[in-house]
Symmetry: D2
Subunit: 338 residues, 4 copies
Amino acid sequence: MIVEMITGASPKEVDDVVAKAQSLELGVQLNQGTDKTVVALLGSNTGQIPTDIFAVLPGVASVTRIMKPYKLSSREFRSGNTVVDCGGVLIGGERIVVIAGPCAVENRNQLRQAAREVKKSGATILRGGAFKPRTSPFSFQGLQQKGLELLAETKAEVGMPVVTEVVDPHDVDLVASYADMLQIGSRNMQNYALLTNAGKCGLPVVLKRGFACTITEWLLAADYLLAGGNNNVVLCERGIRTFEDSVRFSLDISAVPVLKKNSHLPVIVDPSHAAGHYSLVPAIARAAIAAGADGLIIEVHPNPKEALVDGLQSLSPANFAALMEELKPVAEAMGRYI
Amino acid sequence: MIVEMITGASPKEVDDVVAKAQSLELGVQLNQGTDKTVVALLGSNTGQIPTDIFAVLPGVASVTRIMKPYKLSSREFRSGNTVVDCGGVLIGGERIVVIAGPCAVENRNQLRQAAREVKKSGATILRGGAFKPRTSPFSFQGLQQKGLELLAETKAEVGMPVVTEVVDPHDVDLVASYADMLQIGSRNMQNYALLTNAGKCGLPVVLKRGFACTITEWLLAADYLLAGGNNNVVLCERGIRTFEDSVRFSLDISAVPVLKKNSHLPVIVDPSHAAGHYSLVPAIARAAIAAGADGLIIEVHPNPKEALVDGLQSLSPANFAALMEELKPVAEAMGRYI
Amino acid sequence: MIVEMITGASPKEVDDVVAKAQSLELGVQLNQGTDKTVVALLGSNTGQIPTDIFAVLPGVASVTRIMKPYKLSSREFRSGNTVVDCGGVLIGGERIVVIAGPCAVENRNQLRQAAREVKKSGATILRGGAFKPRTSPFSFQGLQQKGLELLAETKAEVGMPVVTEVVDPHDVDLVASYADMLQIGSRNMQNYALLTNAGKCGLPVVLKRGFACTITEWLLAADYLLAGGNNNVVLCERGIRTFEDSVRFSLDISAVPVLKKNSHLPVIVDPSHAAGHYSLVPAIARAAIAAGADGLIIEVHPNPKEALVDGLQSLSPANFAALMEELKPVAEAMGRYI
Amino acid sequence: MIVEMITGASPKEVDDVVAKAQSLELGVQLNQGTDKTVVALLGSNTGQIPTDIFAVLPGVASVTRIMKPYKLSSREFRSGNTVVDCGGVLIGGERIVVIAGPCAVENRNQLRQAAREVKKSGATILRGGAFKPRTSPFSFQGLQQKGLELLAETKAEVGMPVVTEVVDPHDVDLVASYADMLQIGSRNMQNYALLTNAGKCGLPVVLKRGFACTITEWLLAADYLLAGGNNNVVLCERGIRTFEDSVRFSLDISAVPVLKKNSHLPVIVDPSHAAGHYSLVPAIARAAIAAGADGLIIEVHPNPKEALVDGLQSLSPANFAALMEELKPVAEAMGRYI
């Protein structure tokens, strides 16, 4: 951490900074410039100390953090790639994992049909929402417990592990008793009560990026899960909020190589929520794999025209089958398979 | 809702749109242009119908919503201003309400001293966090239950109603048993489990804006509270995430007149979290009142240099007293008092 | 264009909207809802009429544009793909075009060496800046006229067409006398004096996206060029400004399929300026091709450590050669070659 | 400037950083931490040295700039407030300056009527656009030379200094021969050819903020004007691009105190372009003054319903007169007058 004093800071003000640093057991080195003093604070845990502690002192012009604030999710903490096991399917290995299924579980037939179709085309994990966070209180909120039961039933019948979202910290155990992997959605990325509980359940967790959160904040949220003892965390980029209005969210493709450089966790991409329109999903899906993503999560509905939620961004089974064919050579170009 | 067909859409495709609208009991009027057909869908509840239902149909080029999607929080639902009663202090009336206190409750002395100082300078409601949502799992998370007890104790002693944040849906009743008003923080604005529970407790609620949520999404979140039967909702603008990096968040000053135009709910402003630096707080606080805000929520710490959380954005008691003097003539210029 | 009247608008107010529309020779159709009147305005040029003309009338609640405002660059204007010829190299055809070279022309040897290296690895057009727009007036501003001469000399010697940036409207003819294609940079995308002049020169133009401009604004800027009679326009996505701070700009990968859907113009991607760091360039470059881009423009410097401008985002010749090998199978996966 | 080496950087890599710094005549101090080395580079001009020069060296993890990159516009360069004289009207003094007039000069009567009305209500400088930068090539582009003549004529007749926009670097002298102050618009804030020429003309310049530029970039653009010898620069905040869609641009109210803290230049605010709707202009105008702005620039049209450009954001003369009355007590609350 680097503390820049204002021009004309008094020796007393510099001494106070030094004393505060020493009280925190940080190493201190003074850099005396022509105009101003710059104090370097050294220590392996400066990433976890708030900059405010120094910024608030008299005579301080600015405080700059050099160490990254996240820790357990960083490559510095673990240099090798983490591979997450979701009901026998490995995420982060050589095979590109495709998770597919409807946005919301609507009824037995819809889910079963979706599951059979996506499995036939090569998807290896089934997705489906039982608890749906909706912007309006007047919208369909999901089948809840009944949806979880249908997921478990379909999983047994079709033979695919299942991932589904949890939105209430007190539902973690309930959802975990039905699913193979939990999903924490974008609007809950900084719901710390939820993160804390999910960190304690035994299941792997897909942590979607908050749509207005930096990659640093995302990895700090992952640290909540990892700090709870849960090492099986999958990061999912799903688009960020920008000024561009031709899509729902702007898929941050650079997040893939940035995460691969700074974190050991596997990275998947959700092209459906980013695009908001089924016609844009294939291009984004191909790009994600070419950028180095370990998998995709794609919305597929047996009949998008009748979907209760997000029909416009759902692929039909035929479109999904066609996309899977397109993805194969891209995966091969990356030295992987699908 | 306006459905624009593509150039060359077939009569069958237009008919399908009409049939779908009629199945939802919407009025339909066809507009036959030179190049394309535009279908207007009419009805008082089109704001609550997802545009996807039509956008996904073959031959549809775009669907545009005209009705605003929020309802209970709108001025169309209630034309007069709502005035919220927080332990006897009215928010939304002629008097500008100033809520002040420390970011986090740290101990009895800190809270008591803060309460006395801010009351002396004219604040009428005490704030203080017992449950702190923190970006890093390694940061101070608040005194929790103990913090609530200190708030209740200080309230009795100093004689000010108290507002404090709730972060877990299952803590709503607990927090409500100590506080006069609940706060839902920015990161939880779309935590629907929390909104639903807070809508059912009897207390007024301050709903902070999600830092990357539009005003429309914010009013939809308010609808969750109102739909639960809670009419005492106060909206709090606290800055949005933009590319500008000289402040923590960019205070969206236009939100004040936009909300006053579209909603009947009272509006307050939090200059402390937006600025991120105490030296910027006074200018933003004055601007908020001049823009028409009904109140302010300001962080004040007896000794910002020793604050465990957000010291840099906290005012000292002396600075707060000076600010209150600055605010008086601005309130008068608005035909109000403080 | 759809004009929504306020609830309770008077018949006179509705009549005024109708009269104004008729004075502009628009077709008018009234939609009488239960609560309010909605007026549909029809005509093939409503995209070019400002919404303000109606929004300012008494009794109007909102005006919504349905027609896209851009015209000449739209797929509706021209359904087939435009292929641009840059000195014999076709952009927008089956072959993926790679434009490479240094950010700034520094001297004869640097440019010659860069040109030879990138040509050897498969680049087909040489880039190099002679006029450099710089955020600080104290930074290196480019070799200007001398730089143009070196570009022409190197082009002749190495045998590659050349693209270079023009920043002053009155330099268009000068730059055009040396280059095969002009580049209009991100900061000048809405410099209309420059666009107007570039539209009249005979050369193809690469139009970079303004880093905070929507795709609609970008295509409107392309309309300036096309309206001047210049049909040879190449769109270049180079990243947009968002809150994310791990890269210089967030590459908007969705822009590629959105442009392909809405415009007939070829699309290339600049991974170097978006990433701001050479280590992120390969992933973004691969993603761009997988998303359907027609080409790339990449910064390569013979010795990035000694570069006068943007060394950190420049590839070394060895890294560029390695990247070209990576790109080949991705192009093949897309049914193209490089 | 602070250079952080990677963990495990070799002594040779550290030496190379030191050598590079010494070649630039920077002071160097090594900070040896437990895990890594941090090199502090000291010197009064490190703000002007690109960080890339060091970031590109092997073994470097990050480079952090501490000195602000702008110079001539900073308070460190000049501690007192600059007061700009525009045809006898002082901007930056005790009196709040209101610049008003139509968006575009349309004809003699419109401009004359606007000028008389705004002067009567207390505006002291007349605005009016002769050269209009428009997003679409099919929109009205302004009266150009004829508009300048009308401005000069009206100025003489009504007796108010005049400010108008210049968009082409080669029109600077022409515009300067008619106007008292030049305006550089938001889309041209980084048009360096224009800035360079405007820096050399003798007139004061209003520099509007680029709608997606940071305050740092804005002050760097001001440095271009100041470096040309022009000390009479007025900064104008006019809203930034964010995700919020209830206004055209989000007025960045914090920019006012941030600029006052970091720069000596006067600051004005344009509420009209930010709001995009006349009904929001008064609240933003009042807030701007309360935040400490030195003036306002407001669009007023004799008949907004007939305006050729931006009618929706223009005040009528009656609304402008009412606003001026509202602003007086706010100015007084700030210890100023209007």
